[in-house]
């Protein structure tokens, strides 16, 4: 209808937070993000703890998975929910407290100013020195695999902090359920020829956030699933 007025208005920024058993950190994360946008969607991915209640108390919009489906499923739900909410800019943000909300404006900037389709916050692009050695190595391996399989060079293909515009949100089709979703998104960048920018971010590594995320066995599983993804679309 009045698309001109819509375009000139300030874009609606929606933050998508997939959460599975994150009762310890979710409230703090929501509170920090809130100073940048009011539109916060939390996908409670079948948590067995109080994640849902905690997020509700902070006034986030909750989408509840009746059973745990993994990161890919949660992100997919979150993106669809944000699209329904007519978001213009989409941010994915980890619930474990490893991201800094201060990085949000930095993530959005390339979308608004440079016309980027998708921005990935890289923990390894020059700034972040505090990543544990094993994590670094694992990330290098993941990046190499992502490059070999999908042909896109990234410094941090597994990062949970991403920002994208509406076009990207509508285009990317998430098929995988769990952690391999991060590489799948990279694959979608290539498939749809999206304009992709990496932005250095700082990650906060606590024992808690380290106990979450990928470990070696999970990494191996992710690798096998990625190959299946590559072979059988």
């Amino acid at each position: 209808m009045n698309s001109i007025t819509q375009k000139t208005a300030t874009p609606k920024i929606t933050v998508i937070i997939p959460a599975y058993n994150e009762e310890k950190t979710i409230q703090q994360v929501i509170r920090e993000v809130k100073s940048y946008t009011e539109n916060i969607i939390v996908i409670d991915d079948g948590s067995t703890d109080n994640t849902r209640k905690m997020a509700e108390q902070e006034g986030a919009i909750i989408y509840h998975h009746i059973i745990n489906r993994g990161l890919g499923g949660a992100l997919s739900t979150g993106i669809q929910a944000a699209l329904l909410g007519e978001a213009d800019i989409f941010l994915t943000f980890d619930a474990d407290g490893q991201h800094r909300a201060e990085d949000i404006p930095k993530m959005i900037k390339p979308i608004i100013e440079e016309g980027a389709d998708i921005v990935i916050g890289s923990r390894l692009l020059n700034l972040s020195k505090n990543m544990p050695v094993f994590r670094k190595l694992a990330n290098h391996i993941a990046n190499a695999i992502t490059y070999i399989l999908f042909g896109i060079k990234t410094t941090d293909s597994q990062s949970g902090l991403r920002c994208f515009n509406k076009k990207t949100a509508q285009l990317i089709d998430i098929k995988t359920n769990s952690m391999e979703v991060s590489s799948e998104i990279i694959k979608e960048i290539k498939n749809h020829n999206l304009k992709f920018v990496e932005v250095p971010i700082q990650a906060i590594y606590t024992d808690y956030s380290l106990s979450k995320g990928q470990n070696f066995i999970l990494g191996l599983k992710t690798f096998i699933k990625l190959i299946i993804l590559k072979l059988f679309k």
Partner: protein, 111 residues
């Protein structure tokens, strides 16, 4: 030989189970033909092992029984692989359902 008797009885038992399953509707026609065919072939090979010698010669494998074992291993891997793909597909479909429920149950409460 006892081994022949054991395998053939097992095969017969399984074939009966498959047919009963088909009658009950829990096994599709495609699967019925496939599995009954497979167990019949196994029974023939067990009862007349020499039939496999023909294939052994063609493939350049020493003995007929070896051919049977090699082929079964390949076949089992293939089945496992197919099963893996199938599981992955089911997983993805479950996710779709869970996603749908999550979106629907919020209904008009959208942001």
């Amino acid at each position: 030989m006892l081994i022949q008797f054991l395998i053939v009885t097992t095969a017969l038992f399984i074939i009966i189970r498959i047919i009963l399953g088909f009658k009950k509707g829990s096994i599709s026609r495609k699967n019925l033909i496939f599995w009954v065919g497979l167990w019949l072939i196994i029974s023939v090979i067990v009862l007349l092992p020499r039939t496999t010698n023909f294939f052994a010669k063609i493939l350049g494998v020493g003995r007929g029984t070896d051919v049977a074992i090699y082929l079964s291993i390949v076949f089992i891997f293939y089945l496992l692989f197919k099963l893996g793909l199938r599981l992955e597909k089911i997983e993805r479909e479950i996710t779709k359902i869970v996603k749908e429920i999550a979106i629907k149950s919020r209904g008009d409460k959208n942001p």
